[in-house]
Amino acid sequence: MFFRLLMESFRRQRRRKMLAGIAILLGTTAVTAMLALATTIGDRIHKELAVYGANIVIYPKADLLDVKVGGVDVKPASGGAYLKESDLAKLKTIFWGNNITGVSPELPVQMSVARHAGDPLVAASAVGYWFDHDFSGLKTGAPALHPWWRLQGSWPTAQNDPGHRNVVVGANLAKKLSLNVGDNFTVQQTQTAGSAQSSAVVTGIVTTGNETDNEILMTLRDAQTFTGANDAVRRVEVSARTKPEDAFARVDPDSLPPKQREIWYCRPYANSIAYQIREAIPGAQAEQVRRVEQSEGNVLKRISGLMWLISAAALLAAGFAVSAAMATAILERRGEIGLMRSLGASKGAIALLFYAEAGLLAVLAGTMGYLLGSGLAAWLGARIFAGDGGTAEAILIPVLLPVVVALALIVAIAGSTPSIRTALRMDPSAILRADA
């Protein structure tokens, strides 16, 4: 009998059920979409913030000071310590190795260049980089960590013949030497006459807006053979997904008790990733780039905070709307309640029937709302963050399904309760007379 009442109620009162159902459906859709966006916003914004470049930098502990003014390096060319390129593979083995999204080693080289063989030589600085390097499955290199570099032409590739290097030239230097893509020019190790000359081919011209505009960019391998320092790198830039710094992140891990230290170690703070890099690579000093890391954390915190608060607002609004719709749906049916009471149904049985209806409605409309909301979140995310690659995937977060349905259930039942209680408290004959 109970099930029959329940089924008939859904079959015969389609309009009323539709109204309450639409309210729940829309409410859960909005809440699911907002929650799905709020939980994924961190990764999305992190990807956007990648334009600011590396957030961790590694250099040899024993290195001399950088003596750079306005991008001109006046550090003595000789001396200085190097890191080993072959050691970089260890970056993938650290605890948070999977959070490393980009690696770009650098090796600066001093050289002299001339437009044509025999022309007076000009001192120029060159830097060896990875360009499209396969770093154990991760395609990375300088262009990936400096997305604001604008290239005309193509990045250099390693050539077998050391006499014909492929290089990219900074825009200012290219202008000074009147070089275009495809041109050849002469490079020499020092300005003194006797040393060996070789030629280089310009494969591209890069504009960066900083001192790199005056530099020559070559492959790391070429830079190493040029200086005769095999396997050497001077500095490594690392881009890693991190958790914004809090007070706990700033403590010195070696001063913590073992248990706390473990927790510190296993959180993806920039500090703990830098600590793990120092452990993994001998002789290396790793530091967070505070300008990028601190500010990114700040922006990330604000934007995701905003999304969570908006989600809370959506939740509140949807809650109000659903409970108001449920209350109306019950109020409309006081006549039915009066009839059932006068036919001998107990208050408990009637309440159970109404709660069962509300529950069924909440589960059905809530599930549909979850699916609709997930689709909407995916669509919104893909539209807003278009062109970042890999963001168009559907956001189907399974954890959200029980959460959203449970919320719908709670709100629907809480919304119906006052109306059910009022209706049950009234005298059945009075209701029936008023509604006759």
């Binding site: 900083n210 300008r291 604000r302 908006i310 949807a318 709307a321 409309e332």
Partner: protein, 373 residues
């Protein structure tokens, strides 16, 4: 204003008042619904109106986005900083720097920079400094954490610039992970007195998006043609991109929530109108025309909508203030400019809620309804 065909004692407003008061529970629930819809709309629109300014403010923590460099031949003019500040407006942060290479007591070359510590502290908020020097001390120095390793005595830093010696009082270390780690910073006046080198670089933090930065740069180039004005490209580009995307996200969220609330409120209200078929039938039987009755319902809904806007604006502005204070640590003051939009939204919902059931009601036969069929 008496209604023709009704008793002279029953005015339209009398009926309205009685209808609202008699069905108090129903009126209150409708009023709550209208308040929620107006409140949510107000809160979201208020936040939305301020969003760009607030986000741009957060991006200030990235520091300078414009770098002004003097030509190699000549230092900056003495009034350069004042003129830059004048062009950029008082919201912009600017600091000037002078650089020279000196040797430390251990014989290591090091870059020494002269600057105004108070300006740098505001401009470069990401610097981790254990203690900023007092503005009054002329010989205070901040040591980059790497530079500090090449200094014999951190409390009395002895530096040599082309034979000129100076001893600075090191008050703390700087940690940034960037070039600053290899430098020693000191007050500009003492720096110039020691080296004879004047400031050559002004770093400027211009709040606002790419368009504002471009416009400021154009003005700077026009007024100070001898200087090189460069944007910090990654900052300018990144900021605009992120602000635009957050803006779009917020726009989507506002539309979504507004739609949810509007449809739910519409459902609630129109159900409550539909429920009053008996009133409708009675009035019709007493001689009211279709138009009069619809007008009556409409007026009732509009009254509720108006009350909802008044209450919702207050509630929504308070919510926006709380969200803004909680998230951005700055208050979002109530925007009266959102009021017309909120009003329009609520009135539309109310009008639709009143008129939506009109089709259902028109077909009803008063006699049949009153009989209970």
């Amino acid at each position: 204003m008496t209604k023709p065909g009704l008793s002279g004692k029953l005015s339209l407003f009398g009926m309205l008042r009685r209808s609202l008061i008699h069905r108090r529970a129903r009126s209150i629930s409708a009023l709550i619904a209208m308040t929620v819809s107006a409140g949510v709309a107000t809160a979201l629109l208020t936040l939305y109106a301020d969003l760009d300014a607030k986000l741009h403010k957060e991006f200030r923590s990235f520091g300078a986005n414009i770098v002004i460099t003097a030509p190699a031949s000549a230092p900056l003019r003495p009034d350069a900083l004042a003129r830059v500040q004048d062009i950029a407006g008082k919201d912009a942060l600017a600091a000037q720097f002078a650089y020279a290479v000196a040797t430390t007591d251990t014989g290591t070359p090091v870059v020494v920079a002269g600057t105004d510590f108070a300006a740098v502290k505001r401009l470069d908020s990401w610097w981790q400094v254990d203690s900023w020097p007092e503005p009054s001390t002329a010989d205070a120095a901040l040591l980059g954490q790497r530079a500090a390793q090449f200094v014999g005595n951190e409390k009395a830093v002895a530096l040599n610039f082309a034979g000129h010696l100076i001893t600075l009082h090191g008050v703390g270390r700087i940690k940034t992970g960037g070039e600053e780690d290899s430098r020693i910073y000191m007050p500009l006046a003492a720096f110039t007195a020691w080296t004879g080198v004047g400031p050559s670089v002004i770093e400027l933090q211009m709040p606002g998006g790419a368009a504002t930065v471009e416009a400021t740069m154009a003005r700077l180039r026009q007024t100070l043609p001898e200087m090189q004005v460069q944007p910090v490209r990654q900052l300018v580009e990144g900021e605009s991109k992120i602000v635009d995307r957050t803006h779009a996200l917020m726009y989507g969220a506002v539309l979504l929530i507004a739609l949810t609330v509007a449809v739910s409120v519409l459902a609630t209200l129109s159900a409550s109108v539909l429920e009053r078929r008996r009133d409708f039938a009675l009035m019709k039987a007493l001689g009211g025309s279709q138009m009069q009755l619809m007008g009556m319902f409409l007026l009732e809904a509009l009254t509720l909508a108006l009350a909802g806007v008044a209450a919702g604006f207050v509630v929504g502005s308070a919510a926006a203030w709380a969200i803004s204070e909680g998230n951005f640590h700055t208050a979002a003051l109530p925007h009266l400019s959102v009021l017309p939009l909120v009003f329009l939204l609520n009135v539309t919902i109310a009008a639709m809620a009143a008129l939506f059931p009109a089709r259902v009601l028109r077909g009803l036969q008063p006699a049949a309804l009153l009989k209970g069929e």
